[in-house]
């Protein structure tokens, strides 16, 4: 790639800066193999919407899979489809339009995130409360190893690749399971205090037609124009919500835009701790005391506190609190470069074992996750 253009590959949505030696944008699996075989160290990239710096090169070549956009073997009866890694989620949904099916996992970056990136980070997103993580909806992945070998990995080996953020190999293709499209509506519910939030979330989770429970703290609620108090955006797969049609689309648009909105106000560093719902008020009180605006997928216990530059130094303290409360430091964005320091020693050992088994030459995403 022209030297000038490397600059656009030296960062991702985490805004960490790195250095790319070169960038390759293969059009097919053979060209992917070529890149893999000819380079000692490779950083894999999808749409570069990752928030942990996983796709940021640190003196390696970048393998951009955005051009792998093939879709094949759509089987309406079995509700499956095969897609290449660079297919963008919304493009897949467009492709499926006309059938009765969709891919149900929906990160807020759905307009740009690739299926490869979603599997590699095991993205969750706002419908996690009903549909879980991306890997729940993957039948198999086809993975390229450091020698250029291709192998299909089924559900039993999925954890070696889904959520491993590219440290174990290149996901080039996947067979996805699909779900029936539902009529959807939504409501925005105002709540006075955190206990009310907990109680309502518990009740909503009992309902089978609830597919999204998103939390907005007081600062975020005000910022996006919902007014005073805490708010929940609840999506129903029925017409129980008060917002339908265009109004429903509008509120979903507001939801997708929360992080960019906060980042634009200087709250750039987004975190994704995961916590049990009964511990959530404790974490929230701490975040409020520090003035950190927070929103997130409360239905699955994932919060997105957003820190500005001055507040960033309190992140380790938050991580300690999260661990003390029995939570996880990353619920969906992954570890990448940003959160490496917070991985427990035991987890590191497990990850290293998987890495050594799957990528013994240490070719892929070195310096990420572990």
């Amino acid at each position: 790639m022209r030297k000038n253009l490397l600059k656009s590959y030296e960062s991702d949505a985490s805004r960490l800066k790195g250095k790319a030696l070169d960038v390759f944008c293969p059009r097919n699996v053979d060209e992917v193999r070529d890149v893999v075989l000819k380079n000692d160290r490779v950083v894999i990239r999808g749409a570069g919407t990752g928030l942990a710096g996983g796709a940021v090169p640190q003196g390696e070549v970048v393998l951009d899979l955005s051009r792998l956009t093939g879709v094949s073997n759509f089987d309406e009866g079995r509700k499956t489809i095969e897609v290449e890694a660079g297919v963008v989620l919304d493009d897949l949904q467009d492709y499926l339009r006309g059938s009765d099916l969709e891919f149900p996992v929906k990160p807020s970056s759905h307009a740009v995130a690739t299926i490869g990136g979603m599997i590699a980070t095991d993205a969750v997103g706002s419908r996690g409360v009903k549909y879980g993580r991306t890997s729940t909806w993957v039948k198999w992945v086809e993975v390229m190893d450091s020698m250029g070998g291709l192998e299909k990995k089924g559900v039993t080996e999925m954890s070696d690749y889904a959520g491993m953020e590219g440290i174990t190999g290149v996901i080039v293709r996947a067979c996805l399971k699909l779900s029936g499209i539902k009529e959807r509506s939504a409501s925005v519910i105002r709540l006075g205090d955190l206990d009310e939030v907990v109680n309502l979330v518990r009740r909503l989770k009992q309902r089978r037609d609830v597919s999204m429970i998103e939390f907005l703290d007081r600062a975020v609620s005000k910022g996006v124009g919902f007014g005073d108090g805490y708010h929940l955006i609840v999506e129903y797969e029925s017409d129980d919500g008060s917002l339908k049609g265009e109004d429903y689309e509008k509120v979903m648009g507001i939801r997708d835009g929360i992080y960019p909105f906060l980042a634009g106000k200087g709250y750039i560093r987004i975190e994704d701790p995961k916590i049990m719902i009964d511990r959530f008020p404790k974490l929230m009180s701490w975040l409020e005391s520090k003035g950190v605006p927070t929103f997130g997928h409360i239905g699955v216990g994932i919060l997105h506190p957003c820190f500005n530059v001055e507040q960033e130094k309190s992140i380790p303290e938050m991580m300690k609190l999260v661990k003390r409360l029995g939570g996880q430091v990353s619920g969906e964005h992954g570890i990448g470069i940003l959160k490496r320091g917070f991985v427990e020693v035991n987890d590191q050992k497990i990850l290293w074992n998987v890495k050594k088994r799957t990528d013994p030459m240490g070719k892929f995403n070195v310096g990420k996750v572990i």
């Binding site: 253009l5 656009s8 951009d64 740009v112 909105f261």
Partner: protein, 133 residues
């Protein structure tokens, strides 16, 4: 090679500064890529608004700045309303001032000046002539 005047050099520098400032508010979320017609076909980061922002923020002049339809789809999908097309135009203007515009564009303008047609052929059908300053 065209000699660049000092005034043009300063003007070009100012334009690049302004283009880079426009991207100060970009948070690099990448949502602009979703609707960019050029990116959706060519699928390289440099063609997207975020990619161009990375170049302009680093004051890098590259002919890729001319690979943009100025359709503003990226601006519509940008949650922060970054004025991408304005920045791209400033970048292009700076490049032209420094004699780094596209040869194809220069040829087209030359043709318009000479013949009134961007293709250089004199109109035989009596179509209206184009003019260029």
């Amino acid at each position: 090679m065209k000699k660049i005047s000092n005034t043009d050099r300063i003007e070009a520098g100012n334009l690049m500064e302004e283009a880079s400032e426009i991207f100060d508010s970009c948070v690099q979320c990448g949502l602009c890529k979703g609707r960019c017609g050029v990116f959706r076909v060519l699928r390289e980061e440099g063609f997207s608004a975020r990619g161009k922002g990375a170049l302009l923020s680093g004051k890098i002049m590259d002919k890729i700045l001319f690979e943009c339809n100025l359709c503003r789809a990226c601006e519509e999908s940008c949650p922060l309303g970054v004025k991408v097309c304005e920045a791209v135009l400033k970048g292009r203007e700076a490049m032209v001032l420094l004699g780094r515009g596209l040869k194809e564009n220069e040829k087209m303008i030359g043709n318009v000046r000479k013949t009134g047609s961007p293709f250089g052929a004199k109109s035989s059908t009596g179509e209206e002539k184009l003019f260029c300053c």
